[in-house]
Protein backbone atom coordinates (compact mmCIF):
# COMPACT_ATOMS: atom_id res chain seq x y z
CA UNK A 1 0.00 0.00 0.00
CA UNK A 2 1.34 3.45 -0.80
CA UNK A 3 2.30 5.47 2.21
CA UNK A 4 2.55 9.21 2.36
CA UNK A 5 6.04 10.60 2.62
CA UNK A 6 5.20 13.03 5.40
CA UNK A 7 6.01 11.68 8.85
CA UNK A 8 3.10 11.66 11.28
CA UNK A 9 2.76 15.02 13.00
CA UNK A 10 2.95 13.74 16.57
CA UNK A 11 6.48 12.49 16.13
CA UNK A 12 8.03 15.98 16.14
CA UNK A 13 5.81 17.47 18.80
CA UNK A 14 7.00 15.53 21.90
CA UNK A 15 10.67 16.13 21.01
CA UNK A 16 10.17 19.86 21.12
CA UNK A 17 8.04 19.78 24.25
CA UNK A 18 10.25 17.29 26.04
CA UNK A 19 13.20 19.29 27.51
CA UNK A 20 13.17 21.29 30.77
CA UNK A 21 9.83 20.45 32.38
CA UNK A 22 11.32 21.49 35.75
CA UNK A 23 11.89 25.29 35.57
CA UNK A 24 9.00 26.57 33.37
CA UNK A 25 8.77 30.36 33.16
CA UNK A 26 5.58 31.77 34.74
CA UNK A 27 2.61 31.61 32.33
CA UNK A 28 2.44 34.68 30.06
CA UNK A 29 -0.63 36.92 30.22
CA UNK A 30 -2.47 37.59 26.94
CA UNK A 31 -3.50 41.22 26.37
CA UNK A 32 -6.02 41.77 23.57
CA UNK A 33 -5.48 44.74 21.22
CA UNK A 34 -7.37 47.96 22.16
CA UNK A 35 -9.94 49.53 19.87
CA UNK A 36 -10.28 53.24 20.83
CA UNK A 37 -12.14 54.19 17.62
CA UNK A 38 -14.69 51.49 18.14
CA UNK A 39 -15.49 53.00 21.53
CA UNK A 40 -15.77 56.46 19.99
CA UNK A 41 -18.23 55.12 17.39
CA UNK A 42 -20.26 53.48 20.15
CA UNK A 43 -20.46 56.75 22.08
CA UNK A 44 -21.59 58.81 19.06
CA UNK A 45 -24.22 56.23 18.07
CA UNK A 46 -25.54 56.07 21.63
CA UNK A 47 -25.97 59.84 21.77
CA UNK A 48 -27.86 59.87 18.45
CA UNK A 49 -30.20 57.11 19.63
CA UNK A 50 -30.82 58.90 22.93
CA UNK A 51 -31.73 62.11 21.10
CA UNK A 52 -34.13 60.25 18.85
CA UNK A 53 -35.88 58.50 21.72
CA UNK A 54 -36.03 61.76 23.65
CA UNK A 55 -37.74 63.39 20.68
CA UNK A 56 -40.26 60.55 20.41
CA UNK A 57 -41.24 60.93 24.04
CA UNK A 58 -41.25 64.70 24.47
CA UNK A 59 -42.43 66.06 21.09
CA UNK A 60 -46.23 66.49 21.47
CA UNK A 61 -46.73 66.22 17.69
CA UNK A 62 -46.49 62.42 18.00
CA UNK A 63 -49.78 62.52 19.93
CA UNK A 64 -49.20 59.32 21.83
CA UNK A 65 -52.63 59.49 23.48
CA UNK A 66 -54.26 59.27 20.01
CA UNK A 67 -51.94 56.38 19.22
CA UNK A 68 -53.00 54.59 22.41
CA UNK A 69 -56.65 55.21 21.66
CA UNK A 70 -56.51 53.66 18.21
CA UNK A 71 -53.86 50.97 18.63
CA UNK A 72 -56.41 48.53 20.04
CA UNK A 73 -59.55 50.06 18.57
CA UNK A 74 -61.93 47.46 17.25
CA UNK A 75 -61.77 48.70 13.64
CA UNK A 76 -57.98 48.53 13.74
CA UNK A 77 -57.97 45.03 15.23
CA UNK A 78 -60.39 43.87 12.53
CA UNK A 79 -58.11 45.39 9.90
CA UNK A 80 -55.09 43.59 11.41
CA UNK A 81 -57.05 40.37 11.12
CA UNK A 82 -57.76 41.03 7.43
CA UNK A 83 -54.07 41.75 6.85
CA UNK A 84 -53.13 38.48 8.54
CA UNK A 85 -55.64 36.56 6.45
CA UNK A 86 -54.30 38.08 3.25
CA UNK A 87 -50.78 37.14 4.31
CA UNK A 88 -51.59 33.58 5.33
CA UNK A 89 -53.72 32.73 2.30
CA UNK A 90 -51.39 34.53 -0.11
CA UNK A 91 -48.34 32.76 1.30
CA UNK A 92 -49.93 29.32 1.49
CA UNK A 93 -51.36 29.39 -2.02
CA UNK A 94 -48.28 31.10 -3.39
CA UNK A 95 -45.89 28.53 -1.98
CA UNK A 96 -48.00 25.55 -3.02
CA UNK A 97 -48.02 26.86 -6.57
CA UNK A 98 -44.35 27.82 -6.22
CA UNK A 99 -43.34 24.26 -5.29
CA UNK A 100 -45.23 22.92 -8.32
CA UNK A 101 -43.54 25.49 -10.57
CA UNK A 102 -40.12 24.73 -9.10
CA UNK A 103 -40.43 21.03 -9.86
CA UNK A 104 -41.76 21.85 -13.32
CA UNK A 105 -38.62 23.87 -13.94
CA UNK A 106 -36.50 20.98 -12.67
CA UNK A 107 -38.36 18.35 -14.67
CA UNK A 108 -36.97 16.47 -17.64
CA UNK A 109 -39.73 17.75 -19.93
CA UNK A 110 -38.66 20.84 -21.91
CA UNK A 111 -42.32 21.84 -22.29
CA UNK A 112 -42.96 21.90 -18.53
CA UNK A 113 -39.67 23.72 -18.01
CA UNK A 114 -40.64 26.42 -20.48
CA UNK A 115 -44.14 26.87 -19.11
CA UNK A 116 -42.75 27.34 -15.61
CA UNK A 117 -40.05 29.66 -16.86
CA UNK A 118 -42.66 31.69 -18.76
CA UNK A 119 -44.82 31.98 -15.65
CA UNK A 120 -41.95 33.19 -13.52
CA UNK A 121 -40.89 35.62 -16.21
CA UNK A 122 -44.40 37.07 -16.59
CA UNK A 123 -45.31 37.43 -12.94
CA UNK A 124 -41.97 38.86 -11.97
CA UNK A 125 -42.34 41.43 -14.74
CA UNK A 126 -45.84 42.72 -13.91
CA UNK A 127 -45.95 45.17 -10.99
CA UNK A 128 -48.06 43.74 -8.18
CA UNK A 129 -50.35 46.78 -8.09
CA UNK A 130 -51.15 46.48 -11.80
CA UNK A 131 -51.91 42.82 -11.38
CA UNK A 132 -54.11 43.43 -8.35
CA UNK A 133 -56.19 46.05 -10.13
CA UNK A 134 -56.57 43.67 -13.03
CA UNK A 135 -57.86 40.86 -10.84
CA UNK A 136 -60.05 43.24 -8.92
CA UNK A 137 -61.76 44.34 -12.09
CA UNK A 138 -62.18 40.75 -13.20
CA UNK A 139 -63.88 39.96 -9.90
CA UNK A 140 -66.10 42.97 -10.28
CA UNK A 141 -67.08 41.87 -13.74
CA UNK A 142 -67.57 38.29 -12.67
CA UNK A 143 -69.82 39.20 -9.76
CA UNK A 144 -71.99 41.41 -11.87
CA UNK A 145 -72.41 38.69 -14.43
CA UNK A 146 -73.23 36.13 -11.80
CA UNK A 147 -75.62 37.95 -9.55
CA UNK A 148 -76.69 40.97 -11.52
CA UNK A 149 -76.28 43.12 -8.40
CA UNK A 150 -74.74 46.48 -9.11
CA UNK A 151 -71.73 47.33 -6.99
CA UNK A 152 -72.44 49.32 -3.82
CA UNK A 153 -72.80 53.10 -3.91
CA UNK A 154 -69.28 53.81 -2.66
CA UNK A 155 -66.00 52.08 -1.90
CA UNK A 156 -66.53 52.52 1.83
CA UNK A 157 -69.55 50.32 1.96
CA UNK A 158 -69.29 46.61 1.34
CA UNK A 159 -71.94 44.00 1.23
CA UNK A 160 -70.70 40.47 2.00
CA UNK A 161 -70.56 39.36 -1.60
CA UNK A 162 -68.52 42.40 -2.53
CA UNK A 163 -66.04 41.77 0.26
CA UNK A 164 -65.60 38.11 -0.61
CA UNK A 165 -65.09 38.99 -4.24
CA UNK A 166 -62.51 41.66 -3.51
CA UNK A 167 -60.76 39.50 -0.90
CA UNK A 168 -60.67 36.62 -3.35
CA UNK A 169 -59.18 38.81 -6.02
CA UNK A 170 -56.59 40.17 -3.60
CA UNK A 171 -55.57 36.72 -2.36
CA UNK A 172 -55.37 35.46 -5.92
CA UNK A 173 -53.22 38.40 -7.00
CA UNK A 174 -50.89 38.13 -4.01
CA UNK A 175 -50.59 34.35 -4.39
CA UNK A 176 -49.86 34.42 -8.11
CA UNK A 177 -47.24 37.10 -7.56
CA UNK A 178 -45.76 35.21 -4.63
CA UNK A 179 -45.64 31.94 -6.54
CA UNK A 180 -43.18 33.33 -9.08
CA UNK A 181 -40.72 34.24 -6.34
CA UNK A 182 -41.42 31.11 -4.28
CA UNK A 183 -40.70 28.94 -7.34
CA UNK A 184 -37.22 30.39 -7.66
CA UNK A 185 -36.53 30.09 -3.94
CA UNK A 186 -37.65 26.46 -3.82
CA UNK A 187 -35.73 25.63 -6.99
CA UNK A 188 -32.57 27.15 -5.52
CA UNK A 189 -33.07 25.17 -2.33
CA UNK A 190 -33.52 21.90 -4.16
CA UNK A 191 -30.45 22.54 -6.31
CA UNK A 192 -28.43 23.18 -3.15
CA UNK A 193 -29.05 19.61 -1.95
CA UNK A 194 -26.16 17.30 -2.81
CA UNK A 195 -27.02 15.20 -5.88
CA UNK A 196 -25.74 12.16 -3.99
CA UNK A 197 -28.76 12.38 -1.71
CA UNK A 198 -31.22 11.72 -4.53
CA UNK A 199 -28.93 9.04 -5.87
CA UNK A 200 -28.79 7.27 -2.52
CA UNK A 201 -32.58 7.52 -2.19
CA UNK A 202 -33.01 6.08 -5.69
CA UNK A 203 -30.51 3.30 -4.98
CA UNK A 204 -32.56 2.35 -1.91
CA UNK A 205 -35.66 2.10 -4.08
CA UNK A 206 -37.58 4.82 -2.22
CA UNK A 207 -40.74 5.82 -4.12
CA UNK A 208 -40.29 9.03 -6.09
CA UNK A 209 -42.58 11.21 -3.98
CA UNK A 210 -41.00 9.89 -0.83
CA UNK A 211 -37.54 10.80 -2.19
CA UNK A 212 -38.68 14.39 -2.57
CA UNK A 213 -40.79 14.73 0.55
CA UNK A 214 -38.58 12.87 3.01
CA UNK A 215 -35.05 13.30 1.65
CA UNK A 216 -34.78 16.34 -0.64
CA UNK A 217 -37.27 18.90 0.70
CA UNK A 218 -36.26 18.76 4.39
CA UNK A 219 -32.66 19.41 3.37
CA UNK A 220 -33.67 22.06 0.85
CA UNK A 221 -35.63 23.80 3.64
CA UNK A 222 -32.40 24.96 5.20
CA UNK A 223 -31.64 27.28 2.30
CA UNK A 224 -35.31 27.90 1.45
CA UNK A 225 -36.34 29.15 4.89
CA UNK A 226 -34.37 32.40 5.25
CA UNK A 227 -35.44 33.48 1.76
CA UNK A 228 -38.99 32.30 2.28
CA UNK A 229 -39.28 34.24 5.51
CA UNK A 230 -38.11 37.34 3.68
CA UNK A 231 -40.87 36.73 1.18
CA UNK A 232 -43.55 36.20 3.82
CA UNK A 233 -42.53 39.39 5.60
CA UNK A 234 -42.45 41.34 2.40
CA UNK A 235 -45.84 39.94 1.42
CA UNK A 236 -47.15 40.82 4.87
CA UNK A 237 -46.18 44.45 4.39
CA UNK A 238 -47.07 44.22 0.68
CA UNK A 239 -50.69 43.61 1.67
CA UNK A 240 -50.82 47.38 2.21
CA UNK A 241 -50.88 47.65 -1.60
CA UNK A 242 -54.27 45.97 -1.44
CA UNK A 243 -55.60 49.23 0.00
CA UNK A 244 -55.97 50.39 -3.62
CA UNK A 245 -58.74 47.80 -3.87
CA UNK A 246 -60.53 49.33 -0.90
CA UNK A 247 -60.19 46.18 1.18
CA UNK A 248 -60.30 46.93 4.88
CA UNK A 249 -56.80 45.81 5.71
CA UNK A 250 -54.61 47.64 8.18
CA UNK A 251 -53.17 50.38 6.01
CA UNK A 252 -56.48 51.09 4.31
CA UNK A 253 -58.32 51.30 7.64
CA UNK A 254 -55.74 53.68 9.09
CA UNK A 255 -56.11 55.92 6.05
CA UNK A 256 -59.87 55.91 6.50
CA UNK A 257 -59.52 56.94 10.14
CA UNK A 258 -57.08 59.77 9.57
CA UNK A 259 -59.17 60.87 6.64
CA UNK A 260 -61.93 61.43 9.18
CA UNK A 261 -60.03 62.88 12.16
CA UNK A 262 -56.91 64.35 10.51
CA UNK A 263 -54.50 62.74 13.04
CA UNK A 264 -52.15 61.47 10.31
CA UNK A 265 -48.92 60.87 12.23
CA UNK A 266 -50.23 58.96 15.26
CA UNK A 267 -52.34 56.76 13.00
CA UNK A 268 -49.42 56.00 10.73
CA UNK A 269 -47.61 55.04 13.94
CA UNK A 270 -50.48 52.67 14.78
CA UNK A 271 -49.99 50.89 11.45
CA UNK A 272 -46.21 50.95 11.86
CA UNK A 273 -46.38 49.48 15.35
CA UNK A 274 -48.59 46.62 14.17
CA UNK A 275 -46.38 45.88 11.20
CA UNK A 276 -43.28 45.88 13.42
CA UNK A 277 -44.93 43.77 16.09
CA UNK A 278 -46.13 41.10 13.70
CA UNK A 279 -42.89 41.04 11.73
CA UNK A 280 -41.12 40.43 15.02
CA UNK A 281 -43.42 37.50 15.73
CA UNK A 282 -42.60 36.12 12.27
CA UNK A 283 -38.88 36.47 12.90
CA UNK A 284 -39.18 34.58 16.17
CA UNK A 285 -41.16 31.86 14.41
CA UNK A 286 -38.45 31.74 11.76
CA UNK A 287 -35.88 31.04 14.43
CA UNK A 288 -37.77 28.01 15.72
CA UNK A 289 -38.68 26.63 12.29
CA UNK A 290 -35.05 26.94 11.17
CA UNK A 291 -33.93 25.17 14.28
CA UNK A 292 -36.31 22.32 13.49
CA UNK A 293 -34.89 21.90 9.99
CA UNK A 294 -31.25 22.13 11.08
CA UNK A 295 -31.42 18.73 12.77
CA UNK A 296 -28.21 16.83 12.14
CA UNK A 297 -26.43 19.88 10.73
CA UNK A 298 -23.08 20.88 12.10
CA UNK A 299 -23.43 24.54 11.26
Amino acid sequence: MPLTTDPPAERTAPERAAPAPADDPPPLKVVPVRHPWRWAAVAVTAVLIAQFVHGLVTNPAWEWEVFAQFFTAETVLKAVWVTLQLTVYGTALGFVLGVVLAFMRLSASPFLRWVAFGYVWAFRSIPLIVQLLFWFNLAYLYKRLDFGIPFGPGFFHFDTMGLVGAMGAAVLGLALHQAAYAAEIVRGGVLAVDAGQLEAAAALGLPRLRQLRRIVLPQAMRSILPNATNEVISLFKGTSIVSVMAIGELFYQVQVIYGRNGRVVPLLMVATAWYVLLTTVLSVLQHYVERHFSKGATR
Binding site: M1, P2, D194, G196, Q197, E199, A200, A201, A202, A203, L204, G205, L206, P207, R208, R210, R214, I215, P218, Q219, F293, K295, G296, A297, T298
Partner: protein, 256 residues
Protein backbone atom coordinates in the same frame (compact mmCIF):
# COMPACT_ATOMS: atom_id res chain seq x y z
CA UNK B 1 -29.53 -19.60 -21.22
CA UNK B 2 -28.40 -18.67 -17.72
CA UNK B 3 -26.73 -21.18 -15.51
CA UNK B 4 -28.50 -21.28 -12.17
CA UNK B 5 -25.39 -20.25 -10.25
CA UNK B 6 -24.66 -17.04 -12.21
CA UNK B 7 -26.29 -14.34 -10.15
CA UNK B 8 -25.09 -11.39 -12.20
CA UNK B 9 -24.80 -11.61 -15.97
CA UNK B 10 -23.77 -8.44 -17.77
CA UNK B 11 -23.56 -8.80 -21.54
CA UNK B 12 -22.05 -6.38 -24.02
CA UNK B 13 -22.52 -3.25 -21.95
CA UNK B 14 -21.87 -0.08 -23.93
CA UNK B 15 -22.18 3.35 -22.43
CA UNK B 16 -21.01 6.74 -23.60
CA UNK B 17 -21.37 10.25 -22.23
CA UNK B 18 -21.62 12.47 -25.28
CA UNK B 19 -18.64 11.58 -27.41
CA UNK B 20 -16.82 9.86 -24.56
CA UNK B 21 -17.06 6.06 -24.75
CA UNK B 22 -16.84 4.96 -21.14
CA UNK B 23 -17.85 1.30 -21.45
CA UNK B 24 -16.94 -0.43 -24.68
CA UNK B 25 -18.57 -3.82 -24.43
CA UNK B 26 -18.24 -5.28 -20.95
CA UNK B 27 -19.20 -8.85 -20.07
CA UNK B 28 -19.22 -9.79 -16.44
CA UNK B 29 -20.42 -12.89 -14.59
CA UNK B 30 -20.69 -13.14 -10.86
CA UNK B 31 -21.76 -16.34 -9.16
CA UNK B 32 -23.94 -16.39 -6.09
CA UNK B 33 -21.99 -16.20 -2.85
CA UNK B 34 -18.83 -14.95 -4.49
CA UNK B 35 -16.86 -11.76 -4.05
CA UNK B 36 -15.66 -9.99 -7.17
CA UNK B 37 -13.13 -7.19 -6.80
CA UNK B 38 -12.85 -4.69 -9.65
CA UNK B 39 -9.52 -2.93 -10.05
CA UNK B 40 -8.42 -0.34 -12.58
CA UNK B 41 -7.05 3.14 -13.02
CA UNK B 42 -9.18 6.20 -12.39
CA UNK B 43 -11.51 6.92 -15.30
CA UNK B 44 -11.47 3.35 -16.59
CA UNK B 45 -15.24 3.06 -16.13
CA UNK B 46 -15.47 1.07 -12.88
CA UNK B 47 -18.09 3.29 -11.26
CA UNK B 48 -20.10 3.54 -14.44
CA UNK B 49 -20.15 -0.25 -14.78
CA UNK B 50 -21.27 -0.66 -11.18
CA UNK B 51 -24.01 1.94 -11.66
CA UNK B 52 -25.39 0.20 -14.75
CA UNK B 53 -25.83 -2.94 -12.65
CA UNK B 54 -28.67 -1.34 -10.66
CA UNK B 55 -29.77 1.00 -13.45
CA UNK B 56 -28.56 4.18 -11.77
CA UNK B 57 -27.03 4.61 -15.22
CA UNK B 58 -28.88 3.62 -18.39
CA UNK B 59 -26.96 1.53 -20.89
CA UNK B 60 -26.69 2.39 -24.59
CA UNK B 61 -26.72 -1.29 -25.47
CA UNK B 62 -26.25 -4.58 -23.70
CA UNK B 63 -28.14 -6.16 -20.85
CA UNK B 64 -27.82 -6.86 -17.17
CA UNK B 65 -29.50 -9.78 -15.47
CA UNK B 66 -29.58 -10.31 -11.73
CA UNK B 67 -30.91 -13.70 -10.70
CA UNK B 68 -32.12 -14.15 -14.24
CA UNK B 69 -34.22 -10.97 -14.18
CA UNK B 70 -33.39 -8.16 -16.61
CA UNK B 71 -32.48 -4.98 -14.74
CA UNK B 72 -34.21 -1.82 -15.92
CA UNK B 73 -35.81 -3.33 -19.00
CA UNK B 74 -38.45 -5.74 -20.17
CA UNK B 75 -37.83 -7.83 -23.22
CA UNK B 76 -40.41 -8.21 -25.91
CA UNK B 77 -39.25 -9.85 -29.12
CA UNK B 78 -35.93 -8.33 -30.03
CA UNK B 79 -36.49 -5.10 -28.17
CA UNK B 80 -35.79 -4.00 -24.64
CA UNK B 81 -38.36 -1.61 -23.22
CA UNK B 82 -37.31 0.49 -20.27
CA UNK B 83 -39.37 -0.30 -17.20
CA UNK B 84 -41.51 2.25 -15.39
CA UNK B 85 -39.66 4.00 -12.63
CA UNK B 86 -41.73 2.26 -10.00
CA UNK B 87 -40.61 -1.16 -11.21
CA UNK B 88 -36.98 -0.10 -11.44
CA UNK B 89 -37.15 1.15 -7.86
CA UNK B 90 -38.53 -2.21 -6.80
CA UNK B 91 -35.61 -4.00 -8.50
CA UNK B 92 -33.14 -1.74 -6.72
CA UNK B 93 -34.37 -2.88 -3.33
CA UNK B 94 -32.76 -6.24 -4.14
CA UNK B 95 -29.41 -4.66 -5.04
CA UNK B 96 -27.61 -2.77 -2.29
CA UNK B 97 -25.26 0.06 -3.24
CA UNK B 98 -22.56 1.56 -1.03
CA UNK B 99 -21.11 4.87 -2.20
CA UNK B 100 -17.62 6.24 -1.88
CA UNK B 101 -18.94 9.31 -0.02
CA UNK B 102 -21.50 7.37 2.06
CA UNK B 103 -24.44 9.63 1.13
CA UNK B 104 -26.14 9.10 4.47
CA UNK B 105 -29.21 11.28 4.99
CA UNK B 106 -27.79 13.99 7.28
CA UNK B 107 -31.14 15.17 8.66
CA UNK B 108 -32.10 11.70 9.86
CA UNK B 109 -30.60 9.83 12.79
CA UNK B 110 -28.59 6.69 12.18
CA UNK B 111 -31.59 4.56 13.09
CA UNK B 112 -33.92 6.59 10.84
CA UNK B 113 -31.43 6.17 7.98
CA UNK B 114 -31.71 2.40 8.35
CA UNK B 115 -35.46 2.26 8.85
CA UNK B 116 -36.40 4.54 5.94
CA UNK B 117 -36.08 2.12 3.01
CA UNK B 118 -37.60 -1.02 4.60
CA UNK B 119 -40.65 1.01 5.64
CA UNK B 120 -41.04 3.21 2.55
CA UNK B 121 -39.91 0.83 -0.19
CA UNK B 122 -40.80 -2.61 1.20
CA UNK B 123 -43.73 -1.51 3.40
CA UNK B 124 -42.39 -3.37 6.40
CA UNK B 125 -44.09 -2.59 9.71
CA UNK B 126 -42.13 0.12 11.49
CA UNK B 127 -41.56 -2.05 14.55
CA UNK B 128 -39.96 -4.86 12.57
CA UNK B 129 -37.82 -2.40 10.64
CA UNK B 130 -36.56 -0.82 13.87
CA UNK B 131 -35.73 -4.20 15.36
CA UNK B 132 -33.91 -5.22 12.18
CA UNK B 133 -32.03 -1.92 12.10
CA UNK B 134 -30.86 -2.30 15.69
CA UNK B 135 -29.61 -5.81 14.98
CA UNK B 136 -27.67 -4.54 11.96
CA UNK B 137 -26.15 -1.66 13.93
CA UNK B 138 -25.05 -4.18 16.50
CA UNK B 139 -23.43 -6.22 13.75
CA UNK B 140 -21.39 -3.29 12.43
CA UNK B 141 -20.44 -2.34 15.99
CA UNK B 142 -22.49 0.86 16.22
CA UNK B 143 -25.38 -0.13 18.46
CA UNK B 144 -24.71 2.87 20.70
CA UNK B 145 -24.94 5.34 17.79
CA UNK B 146 -28.56 4.65 16.85
CA UNK B 147 -29.75 8.13 17.86
CA UNK B 148 -26.71 10.04 16.63
CA UNK B 149 -26.81 12.18 13.50
CA UNK B 150 -24.43 11.07 10.72
CA UNK B 151 -22.27 14.20 10.79
CA UNK B 152 -21.26 13.51 14.38
CA UNK B 153 -19.68 10.20 13.32
CA UNK B 154 -16.22 9.52 11.91
CA UNK B 155 -15.91 8.61 8.25
CA UNK B 156 -15.38 4.97 9.09
CA UNK B 157 -18.47 4.90 11.28
CA UNK B 158 -20.52 6.66 8.59
CA UNK B 159 -19.51 4.08 6.01
CA UNK B 160 -20.41 1.26 8.38
CA UNK B 161 -23.84 2.86 8.83
CA UNK B 162 -24.15 3.12 5.04
CA UNK B 163 -23.38 -0.58 4.73
CA UNK B 164 -25.96 -1.38 7.39
CA UNK B 165 -28.48 0.83 5.56
CA UNK B 166 -27.92 -1.17 2.37
CA UNK B 167 -28.24 -4.43 4.31
CA UNK B 168 -31.53 -3.36 5.86
CA UNK B 169 -33.27 -4.23 2.58
CA UNK B 170 -31.80 -7.75 2.72
CA UNK B 171 -30.45 -7.43 -0.82
CA UNK B 172 -29.39 -10.39 -2.94
CA UNK B 173 -26.38 -8.50 -4.21
CA UNK B 174 -24.21 -5.76 -2.75
CA UNK B 175 -22.26 -3.26 -4.85
CA UNK B 176 -19.44 -1.21 -3.30
CA UNK B 177 -17.93 1.75 -5.14
CA UNK B 178 -14.57 2.49 -3.53
CA UNK B 179 -15.99 2.19 -0.01
CA UNK B 180 -12.76 3.19 1.70
CA UNK B 181 -11.37 5.81 -0.68
CA UNK B 182 -12.83 8.76 1.22
CA UNK B 183 -11.49 7.58 4.57
CA UNK B 184 -8.46 8.55 6.60
CA UNK B 185 -5.96 5.66 6.46
CA UNK B 186 -6.49 4.61 10.07
CA UNK B 187 -10.25 4.17 9.45
CA UNK B 188 -9.96 1.91 6.38
CA UNK B 189 -9.52 -1.26 8.44
CA UNK B 190 -12.80 -1.07 10.36
CA UNK B 191 -14.81 -0.76 7.12
CA UNK B 192 -12.91 -3.55 5.37
CA UNK B 193 -13.53 -5.76 8.42
CA UNK B 194 -17.29 -5.30 8.01
CA UNK B 195 -17.06 -6.18 4.32
CA UNK B 196 -14.89 -9.22 5.08
CA UNK B 197 -17.47 -10.37 7.61
CA UNK B 198 -20.16 -10.13 4.93
CA UNK B 199 -17.95 -12.12 2.56
CA UNK B 200 -17.58 -14.89 5.14
CA UNK B 201 -21.36 -15.04 5.48
CA UNK B 202 -21.62 -15.75 1.76
CA UNK B 203 -22.97 -12.40 0.59
CA UNK B 204 -22.65 -11.87 -3.16
CA UNK B 205 -20.63 -8.71 -3.67
CA UNK B 206 -18.92 -6.65 -6.32
CA UNK B 207 -16.34 -4.35 -4.79
CA UNK B 208 -14.52 -1.59 -6.65
CA UNK B 209 -11.44 -0.77 -4.60
CA UNK B 210 -7.75 0.05 -4.67
CA UNK B 211 -7.05 -2.11 -1.60
CA UNK B 212 -4.94 -4.89 -3.14
CA UNK B 213 -4.46 -6.65 0.20
CA UNK B 214 -8.21 -6.85 0.64
CA UNK B 215 -8.61 -8.23 -2.88
CA UNK B 216 -6.03 -10.90 -2.23
CA UNK B 217 -7.64 -11.94 1.02
CA UNK B 218 -11.34 -11.84 0.16
CA UNK B 219 -11.87 -11.94 -3.60
CA UNK B 220 -12.92 -15.07 -5.45
CA UNK B 221 -12.42 -13.22 -8.71
CA UNK B 222 -10.36 -10.15 -9.51
CA UNK B 223 -11.37 -8.11 -12.54
CA UNK B 224 -8.98 -5.58 -14.04
CA UNK B 225 -10.53 -2.80 -16.13
CA UNK B 226 -8.83 -0.25 -18.33
CA UNK B 227 -10.21 2.09 -20.98
CA UNK B 228 -13.79 0.87 -20.67
CA UNK B 229 -12.95 -2.81 -21.12
CA UNK B 230 -12.22 -5.75 -18.88
CA UNK B 231 -8.58 -6.47 -19.63
CA UNK B 232 -8.26 -9.63 -17.60
CA UNK B 233 -9.96 -11.50 -14.81
CA UNK B 234 -9.39 -14.55 -12.70
CA UNK B 235 -8.58 -15.70 -9.17
CA UNK B 236 -6.49 -13.21 -7.17
CA UNK B 237 -3.45 -15.48 -7.19
CA UNK B 238 -3.44 -15.31 -10.97
CA UNK B 239 -4.36 -11.69 -11.70
CA UNK B 240 -2.44 -10.11 -8.82
CA UNK B 241 0.67 -12.30 -8.84
CA UNK B 242 0.94 -13.43 -12.44
CA UNK B 243 -0.80 -10.80 -14.54
CA UNK B 244 -0.71 -11.60 -18.23
CA UNK B 245 -1.30 -8.14 -19.64
CA UNK B 246 1.17 -5.29 -19.67
CA UNK B 247 -1.48 -2.81 -18.52
CA UNK B 248 -2.34 -4.94 -15.50
CA UNK B 249 1.34 -5.25 -14.62
CA UNK B 250 1.98 -1.54 -14.86
CA UNK B 251 -1.15 -0.72 -12.85
CA UNK B 252 -0.23 -3.18 -10.09
CA UNK B 253 3.32 -1.89 -9.94
CA UNK B 254 1.89 1.56 -9.20
CA UNK B 255 -0.56 0.59 -6.47
CA UNK B 256 1.44 -2.14 -4.73
Amino acid sequence: MSTPSAMVEARGIHKSFGSLDVLKGVDLDVRAGEVTVVLGPSGSGKSTLLRTLNHLEKVDSGSVRVNGELVGYRRSGNKLYELRERDILKQRTKIGFVFQNFHLFPHLTVLENLVEAPVAALRRPKKDAVAGARALLDRVGLADKADAYPRTLSGGQQQRVAIARALALEPELLLFDEPTSALDPELVGEVLDVIKDLAHRGTTMIVVTHEIGFAREVADTVVFMDGGRIVEQGPPGQVLDHPRHERTKSFLSKVL
